[in-house]
């Protein structure tokens, strides 16, 4: 089976999308960019191939054993992956304890680490087994990190194995876990997953037929901030502006204006009826009002990035905020808090300030034309979407606002379509 890959090396996350010859999405992958683009590209691509395999698997297992079995298999597969990563983290922490912890503390530290990881493994099993598991970060680092932190706090002893000691061990080892290519291979984990769900011969046969279909990567196009790191010829490297434009067109074919707010830049793009960019504007020298800004705000408030939007939506009144300077964000926030403003009201004002900045870029690029598609990580934030909708209506009248739940993949999707289009032409 011929396939076409698009890789988007963003400043925060790296995404990969695989298409078949008809342009249908076979698979997608996402990972932290970690300032190691080579590895991030490899991991995202590998993950996209895994989901592509699951795409094939889906058809065949569902036909052979039904949707419920398929779902269980998929979850078991993810669990196997996560457990492998947990196992590796624990192994590294234990090595670190042997190396750096004082003799008299070594045994008690190992015991606490063991107890933490046993619980984490149990929790992982439970999370994957749950009907509707609570939402959490897509990234191993964040999901595992918050569980570890919680358990370490609970089990630390200020007189012997302190929280700081446990935290230091984790911080040191998680970097290595992230930066070594883990065994994420499809075949390895699918075997474990099959065992976990009972290894029925019908399912095994369907899995094997999906596993053995070759996926031939005909062409790859790279985009995003790290694109120059990709080992591709120049023709296969495309600007993310073009990729976002085309990606948005593929997701919503009637798109004429695209707003993309990513980690470190904001792009306002106008596209024609075939998804070709006709005009664009980007933020200039600073990342004010971009995803990274929200990240700082979340850090300042000591909450998760995904909690910002919902918290802002609890606001009853908007605080007017003019500066979206990332550097001043902390100071601005503390100033408002000291004046007695409520967190949700401040956040509401911040979201509006970000969107005002985006509106200025949109105006410079040629306005907001129908239909209007919002992409990038910030499109996942409900308060940002609400502020955008309101401002768009105030300035341009009612527009159809498209947001895909998969908008984070827009750039990679556009890149994959460029790979497909250019191969076909």
């Amino acid at each position: 089976m011929n396939c076409f890959t698009g890789i988007d090396l963003g400043s925060t996350t790296t995404k990969a999308v695989i298409l078949d010859e008809a342009g249908a999405i076979l698979g997608r992958g996402i990972t932290n960019s970690r300032s190691n683009y080579d590895l991030a590209a490899r991991v995202a691509r590998e993950e996209a191939f895994i989901t592509a395999r699951f795409g094939l698997l889906r058809q065949r297992v569902e036909a052979a054993a039904g949707a419920v079995v398929l779902d269980r298999l998929l979850k078991a597969f993810r669990l196997s992956q996560t457990l492998a990563q947990l196992h590796r983290t624990r192994e590294l922490i234990e090595q670190e304890v042997e190396r750096s912890v004082a003799d008299h503390l070594r045994r008690p530290t190992l015991d606490v680490v063991e107890s933490i990881f046993v619980t984490m493994e149990e929790e992982e099993e439970a999370w994957f087994a749950a009907e509707n598991p609570p939402p959490r970060s897509d990234f191993f680092r964040d999901a595992a990190g918050s569980a570890y932190m919680r358990l370490a706090e609970e089990r630390a002893d200020p007189d012997s194995v302190t929280f700081d000691l446990l935290l230091g061990l984790y911080d040191k080892c998680i970097i290595q876990v992230e930066n070594e290519p883990l065994e994420l291979g499809f075949r390895h984990h699918i075997g474990a997953a099959l065992d976990r769900i009972g290894n029925s011969p019908i399912v095994r046969e369907a899995v094997e037929s999906a596993t053995e279909t070759p996926l031939d990567e005909v062409s790859t196009v790279g985009t995003g901030y790290g694109r120059a790191r990709l080992p591709f010829p120049k023709e296969q490297i495309h600007s993310e502006i073009l990729c976002h434009g085309l990606g948005a067109h593929i997701l919503f074919p009637a798109t004429r204006t695209v707003l993309d707010i990513g980690g470190q830049d904001t792009k306002a793009i106008q596209v024609d009826s075939s998804g070709i960019v006709t005009s664009f504007q980007m933020n200039d020298h600073c990342a004010a009002g971009c995803g990274r800004y929200l990240g700082y705000i979340a850090d300042e408030m000591n909450i998760g990035l995904h909690e910002l939007g919902p918290l802002a939506q609890k606001s009853t009144r908007s605080v007017r905020i003019n500066s979206t300077c990332t550097v001043f964000a902390g100071a601005e926030l503390r100033e408002r808090m000291s004046l007695g403003e409520k967190r949700e009201d401040i956040l509401n004002g911040l979201h509006r300030a970000i969107m005002l900045r985006a509106m200025s870029l949109l105006a410079r690029s040629g306005g907001v034309n129908n239909e209007f598609t919002f992409t990038g990580g910030v499109a996942r934030n409900p308060a940002a979407v609400a502020a955008l909708t309101e401002l768009c209506e105030e300035n341009y009248g009612r527009r159809t606002l498209n947001i895909s739940p998969d908008s984070i993949y827009t750039g990679a999707l556009g890149a994959a379509h460029f790979a497909l289009r250019e191969t076909c032409s």
């Binding site: 600007s239 502006i241 073009l242 070709i276 960019v277 005009s279 020298h285 032409s425």
Partner: protein, 432 residues
């Protein structure tokens, strides 16, 4: 091996104009350094509206602070100079040319060729379209306590120089400037001498226009922005209306015409650019602190600039203006009022549209610099207007003149690459 011989000839020819320019500039700064001893009067003035022929006719030497500032930027000195000026109390948001010049002054006043710069005997402002110029000379006047002449130059709000405006400027030159020059130089105004310099200016201007218009060839033998910065150097600084200037432009024209005849492109930081994928028009001054890096962003994509407005800040000669020895004061008034940034917005839009059409450009890029409101105000409106008139989308990038803190290579490269790929996509779309 005929081409090798041709290449060698081209190289030798190219070297000659460059060598000439280098010698001219070195000699000029040597004379400036010795001015306190030799007694040659020194007049500080700015490129737009500069009255070099008149200054020369009084035997005085022109010195151009903004050229020194851009040279400091290219030589990697501007960061420290700007910091020096900011320590002295100048805001981060002030034009960086000014701060670079003030910082240079405070750091010993060593000019671009490593020689000490003399104090001015006169500060001559002959273009008031840039408000910052006025403030700049006020600062220098504080420093040097020397005579100052500020000519009021009316803006071309209706797109042309009105007869009354012209008469007004002529009157200021006659009543204010000439007597001041007579006083500080101790010489009487000599109109024949002025006519002589103006005639030399017109000769060099003819050759400069031929050089700039050579970009209509395919491939273009010049880069009309990055390369043209060097070509306009002598005529914008101190050599318009001089014998050396005439010789330089005669030589340059010969070299460029030889390159055009041989079908050769310009020499870029990465070597000759003979294969030209994109022909672009550029509006706005270049960034000086990363000049070569900025140029490379274009040349590595095989983009050549075929016309630019920046190469016209010292005169829009390609639209017909020539210094006229038959009407010495009138021609100087026309020159002052005809500065590129003194044109109104429709005039600037029209100029860009003309360039795109006449030079058969694939696109146009606006480099909007933080420092210069004379250039940057209204540029987005211009972008939209030019797009509307030509049907060709433009690109908008942002940087600064000489403050390295405002040059974000990744950001600019990203926009430029996106833009060039957009041109490709449009070509592919139109071809299908």
């Amino acid at each position: 091996m005929a081409t090798t011989a041709k290449d060698r000839t081209a190289k030798v020819q190219k070297d000659r104009s460059m060598v000439l320019q280098k010698q001219m500039i070195a000699e000029h700064f040597r004379r400036l350094e010795e001015a306190p001893e030799s007694g040659e009067p020194v007049v500080y003035t700015f490129v737009p509206g500069n009255l070099t022929e008149l200054i020369r006719s009084f035997g005085a030497l022109p010195l151009l602070p903004e050229i020194n500032a851009l040279q400091s930027g290219m030589r990697g000195k501007s960061r420290d100079y700007i910091a020096e000026a900011e320590r002295a109390g100048h805001s981060e948001d002030v034009c960086t040319y000014v701060k670079c010049d003030i910082g240079m002054l405070k750091s010993g006043n060593i000019g671009p060729t490593g020689t000490r710069l003399p104090k001015p005997d006169l500060l001559l402002l002959s273009y008031t379209g840039c408000y910052t110029f006025m403030k700049w000379f006020e600062l220098l006047r504080e420093e040097y306590d020397c005579p100052t002449v500020f000519l009021q130059i009316p803006y071309q709000s209706d797109g042309k120089i009105e007869p009354a405006h012209r008469a007004y400027v002529v009157e200021q030159i006659r009543r204010d400037l000439i007597p001041t020059l007579e006083r500080i130089t101790g010489r009487a105004y000599d109109e024949d001498r002025l006519r002589h310099h103006l005639a030399l200016a017109a000769q060099a201007e003819d050759d400069l226009v031929a050089v700039l218009e050579s970009a209509k060839h395919r491939p273009s033998p010049i880069d009309a922005y990055f390369g043209a910065v060097y070509y306009v150097g002598p005529i914008f600084s101190a050599f318009r209306g001089t014998e050396e200037g005439v010789e330089y432009y005669r030589e340059l024209r010969r070299e460029v015409e030889a390159r055009a005849a041989a079908g050769e492109g310009p020499i870029t930081p990465d070597g000759p650019l003979n294969e030209q994928r994109y022909r672009l028009v550029v509006e706005g001054p270049p960034n000086w602190t990363s000049f070569r890096e900025f140029w490379r962003m274009f040349s590595r994509e095989q983009a050549v600039i075929v016309a630019s407005t920046y190469s016209k800040v010292g005169g829009v000669y390609d639209f017909g203006f020539r210094h006229d020895p038959g009407d010495p004061l009138g021609t100087m008034a026309d020159y002052c009022g005809g500065c590129y940034t003194n044109l109104n917005m429709p005039g600037r839009v029209e100029m860009l549209v003309d360039y795109i059409r006449e030079y058969e450009a694939d696109g146009f890029v606006i480099n909007s610099v933080k420092s210069c409101n004379s250039f940057s105000a209204g540029q987005l409106m211009m972008l939209r207007e030019v797009e509307k008139c030509t049907g060709i989308p433009g690109a908008f990038i942002e940087s600064d003149l000489v403050d390295p803190r405002y040059f974000s290579a990744a950001n600019i490269k990203n926009r430029l690459e996106s833009y060039l790929q957009m041109i490709d996509a449009r070509r592919a779309g139109n071809g299908a």
